[in-house]
């Protein structure tokens, strides 16, 4: 079994939320917002893992933790065998692993400095993270642009002179220029038209194979995740509630939240069909009760023990795992002995 590119264990990130008393002599109580709470997962070399979840689930924070832009409160982040969670984010820019973990952003335009040409944007990480200079640097910039399907004549343009798809390509060229092993894609096609999306997704797929990268692909669009990913992680309020091969998880979701997500995808075939809908709002991520399932209250399957015992992520066999007391397993799976209870 080859060593995973990324191995995350018990990753947690909490943010302090001050609740001040109104009067001057009332002491402020510190409350904690649990953005990411005890997350475990691994990404194998060459694997594409999808991460889905809705706003407030913690995927942005998780992405920033894994890309080392943010420090964890606790837990481990292993990258190709080396523990990198302990290195403060402020120092990570100088580490040799910096070039190996890169990111493509959701809003490509926002992620490009408006005063930098495309060429300079792509060259900047190369200048900082490699020894390439001068003609070698220029050659690498053009090579990366070529890989991303960006014509040479666009290299001298500024972001406001480029279309959405072209900006996306600049972002991709910049990320792959330094030859990362793990590429994190944060909703890379969310802002693009559907026909441009196709082209970019096919490009990403092609690049993955050619350059041997692993992907962590974050998206809210489950159909897109299905196209590109091998496995998927479903997050809810800071925890992973389900994981497994992408087709299995979406075709027969075990966790009620995943089921609601899948049911929410609009489709022609579902016209007029009354589908499962989630009511209410998510629970507060501030000082959550460690003994209550995060989905309790909105869950159509909840029972009394859901409020007293937090379900742990348990393997179901077939590479699947779910954190639920009453998972719905339709397909016949060989459950490992230490698996499902109820």
């Amino acid at each position: 079994m080859t060593e995973p590119v990324l191995d995350v264990r018990g990753l947690t990130r909490r943010f302090p939320v001050k609740r001040e008393g109104h009067l001057p002599w009332q002491r402020s109580r510190a409350s904690w917002l649990h953005a990411v709470d005890g997350v475990d997962f691994a990404i194998a070399p060459g694997e594409t893992v999808g991460l889905v979840g809705e706003s407030g689930c913690g995927k942005s924070t998780l992405v920033r933790l894994v890309s080392r832009l943010l420090d964890p409160s606790s837990g481990r982040i292993g990258f190709a065998g080396t523990e990198i969670g302990g290195i403060p984010a402020a120092n990570f820019a100088r580490m040799p692993q910096r070039a190996s973990i890169q990111m493509v952003f959701q809003d490509a335009g926002e992620s490009l400095n408006p005063r930098f040409t495309a060429a300079r944007a792509i060259a900047d990480p190369l200048r900082r993270l490699t020894r390439l200079r001068g003609a070698d640097l220029d050659a690498r910039v053009r090579e990366a642009a070529g890989l991303a399907g960006l014509p040479d004549e666009l290299l001298g343009r500024f972001p406001h002179q480029l279309s959405g798809g072209q900006k996306a390509r600049v972002g991709i060229a910049r990320a792959v220029a330094v030859e990362p092993r793990l590429l994190i894609l944060d909703e890379p096609t969310a802002a693009l038209d559907v026909s441009v999306q196709v082209v970019i997704l096919q490009l990403l797929d092609d690049l993955k194979r050619r350059l041997g990268m692993s992907y962590l692909f974050v998206s809210h669009d489950l159909n897109v995740v299905r196209l590109l990913c091998d496995r998927v992680l479903v997050m809810y309020l800071g925890k992973i509630v389900e994981s497994g091969p992408v087709d299995t998880v979406f075709d027969s979701p075990a966790h009620p939240y995943t089921k609601a997500l899948v049911a929410a995808i609009p489709s022609l075939e579902q016209r007029g069909v009354k589908r499962l809908r989630l009511s209410g709002e998510p629970r507060s991520p501030i000082d959550p009760d460690p003994g209550t399932c995060r989905f309790y209250g909105r869950c159509p399957r909840s029972q009394s023990n859901c409020a007293t015992e937090m379900p742990e992520l348990r393997r179901l066999g077939d590479g699947r795992a779910v954190a639920c007391h009453y998972p719905e397993i339709i397909a016949c799976v060989q459950a490992a002995p230490a698996a499902t209870a109820a």
Binding site: L69, R98, A99, N113, P114, P125, R128, R174, V178
Partner: protein, 281 residues
């Protein structure tokens, strides 16, 4: 480059006021640079016989109380006033903008310290503060520059701080971190260039204010000392002459002052359009 020139032409053509301000700016700089070569007379040469003569063919702007040619003195003063203002603006920008950027970008203690310093300066009526500084340090040209620079620093700090605190969350700043840039490098190479449009406008406005400040200090006797020609001094010298009917002694320097300040204020708007087309309305 062509695109930049075309844009320059567009901005100037679109707005006549900007064009006028820009033309005036060119004239002012030309006068300042070419000063000694275009002065018709020696600005310091006195001529008691021809004191207080009204504007004539020989002296276009007339002569002052000791017979010096006012036009030549105004030309000579252009160099001095613009020079002081420019030096003050550069100093103000260098220290104020950098402090403000750091405060906005890093927050925390940097922001608190810079904020308090700026508040302290702004607590004083600024001209009075300038007076105090010059009075304390002495009536020399460098001191006028320092005083003017100090009273304008909070303005830059404030503008820079606001911009930096917004930009620190921008996507490209995060991307720069992923690209291995240190925080200091991001601040200088990525954030600063993006704040330049607003700071450039500020610089132009400050030029106008700095000229006024230098003239004002000289007017009350705290700045440049006579016989050095300076617009403020000339207005002061000519003020008493108005009562006796010699209007030209104070009017022409006053006009020059007014035009210079006016020019820089209007130029500020035009500059913004030039540097950052996306902000243009």
């Amino acid at each position: 480059m062509n695109a930049a020139l075309r844009h320059l032409r567009y901005v100037l053509g679109e707005n006549l006021v900007t064009l006028a301000a820009f033309a005036l700016f060119v004239v002012l700089v030309a006068v300042a640079v070419l000063g000694p070569w275009i002065e018709p007379h020696d600005p310091l040469a006195t001529d008691a016989m021809h004191a207080l003569t009204p504007p004539s063919a020989a002296h276009w702007f007339g002569t002052d109380a000791v017979g010096r040619d006012i036009l030549s003195r105004i030309i000579a003063a252009t160099r001095l006033d613009l020079g002081i203002a420019f030096a003050a603006v550069v100093l103000s920008f260098a220290i104020g903008a950098l402090a403000g950027l750091a405060a906005g970008y890093f927050g925390g203690w940097t922001e608190r310290v810079v904020g308090r310093a700026a508040d302290t300066i702004m607590a004083f009526p600024l001209f009075v503060l300038a007076m105090g500084i010059v009075a304390a340090l002495g009536n020399t040209t460098p001191n006028i520059v320092y005083a003017t620079a100090i009273i304008n620093m909070p303005l830059y700090a404030r503008v820079a701080r606001t911009e930096a605190s917004v930009l620190r969350q921008a996507g490209f700043v995060e991307a720069a971190r992923l690209g291995g840039n240190s925080e200091a490098r991001i601040l200088l190479a990525q954030v600063l260039p993006n704040t330049m449009p607003l700071l450039a406008v500020q610089m132009s406005l400050t030029m106008g204010y700095a000229i006024l400040n230098a003239a004002g200090l000289s007017f009350i006797g705290l700045g440049i000392s006579p016989p050095t020609p300076e617009w403020g001094i000339m207005v002061a010298e000519g003020a008493s002459n108005i009562i006796s009917g010699e209007w030209w002694v104070a009017l022409f320097p006053g006009l020059a002052l007014m035009l210079a300040v006016f020019c820089f204020n209007l130029l500020g708007d035009g500059l913004r359009d030039l540097i950052d087309p996306r902000r243009r309305t």
